[in-house]
């Protein structure tokens, strides 16, 4: 009985992730471990966003770019965002691990043969149109539908 339930859950997650399990709100961001789980389970691109308090370029991204309609749509459709405070203890160790040496940094990862493969990264703020283009490019690189 127990085996069947686990199997069903696993199959559900594999085939129709959106319908199985709890509904995940992909319009918001998650702590890194949780975002990693979601990216794996829902076969999405993991965008690790390193930001810092008091960094005006992060503030610019938060206020004008990451809330933009088109940017929000592609993120919600194909990505999971991990929100990492680069100056917190966990953030500092993750920054070292991913070699993210400034903010804002965006690291793009996809699950690949049981590990995470980096498909690209961005450093620095950018205008909406440029960020949107870059998200579309990473999305196309990862393959699949809904990149525009």
């Amino acid at each position: 009985m127990r085996t069947v339930a686990v199997f069903a859950l696993g199959l559900g997650a594999l085939l129709t992730p959106a319908l199985a399990g709890p509904v995940v709100d992909f319009d918001r961001w998650y702590p890194y471990p949780q975002a990693q789980q979601y990216a794996q389970a829902y076969r999405r691109i993991l965008m690790v966003y390193f930001w810092g308090h008091g960094c005006p370029y992060c503030e610019q991204m938060n206020t004008f770019v990451l809330s933009d309609g088109a940017v929000s749509r592609i993120l919600a459709r194909r990505y999971v965002v991990a929100s990492v405070d680069a100056h917190s203890p966990e953030g500092q160790s993750l920054s070292r691990q991913m070699r993210a040496f400034g903010t804002p940094t965006f690291v793009f990862l996809v699950p690949h043969e049981g590990a995470w493969k980096e498909i690209g990264r961005l450093f620095g703020s950018r205008p909406r149109a440029q960020f949107l283009r870059e998200l579309e490019q990473f999305c196309a690189k990862a393959g699949g539908e809904g990149c525009e």
Partner: protein, 155 residues
């Protein structure tokens, strides 16, 4: 606080020379970096019921804003109108690339208030800021200034 900043090369000296060159004329009605007339039009229609074509460039408006802003969150804007106070109804300010292009409206109600207004605004990304002066006889005068918002990061 970690405030060492790395500015992208593209936002540095090269852009500065381009912007300063273009911004020279506060009257410029075209060719300012980041111009987005379609978005500006939405803001003009929503707030004034008028369009871009109804705006008349005027040397009577002195619009002061930085040609380069390190942060778009806090851009000082000062508008001085060289017209008798009795002729001026309101001073509006727009930015082409903001989701909501209307930044503020200042209305003069008499009592010796002069056609001058200064504040600090948010600029979404590199775009012209426009001072629109509404006169009592229904004219809309405009002066524009390009503001480049630096892109970059903190190290």
């Amino acid at each position: 606080m970690n405030r060492r900043k790395f500015l992208k090369a593209s936002a540095g000296a090269l852009a500065a020379s381009v912007v300063v060159g273009r911004v020279g004329s506060a009257l410029a009605q075209g060719g300012l970096e980041g111009e987005d007339i379609a978005n500006l039009e939405k803001g003009l229609q929503a707030s004034l019921g008028k369009g871009y074509k109804d705006l008349v460039p005027s040397q009577a408006i002195k619009l002061t804003a930085p040609a380069i802003a390190e942060s778009g969150a806090n851009v000082p804007v000062e508008i001085e109108v060289n017209l008798p106070a009795e002729q001026v109804k309101a001073i509006h300010c727009f930015c082409d690339k903001n989701a909501n292009p209307l930044l503020f409206s200042f209305q003069l109600l008499g009592g010796g208030v002069l056609p001058y207004y200064a504040t600090r605004v948010r600029v979404a990304e590199t775009a012209p800021v426009r001072a629109v002066v509404e006169t009592k006889d229904g004219r809309l005068l405009v002066a524009s200034q390009g503001v480049r918002v630096t892109v970059g990061g903190c190290g």
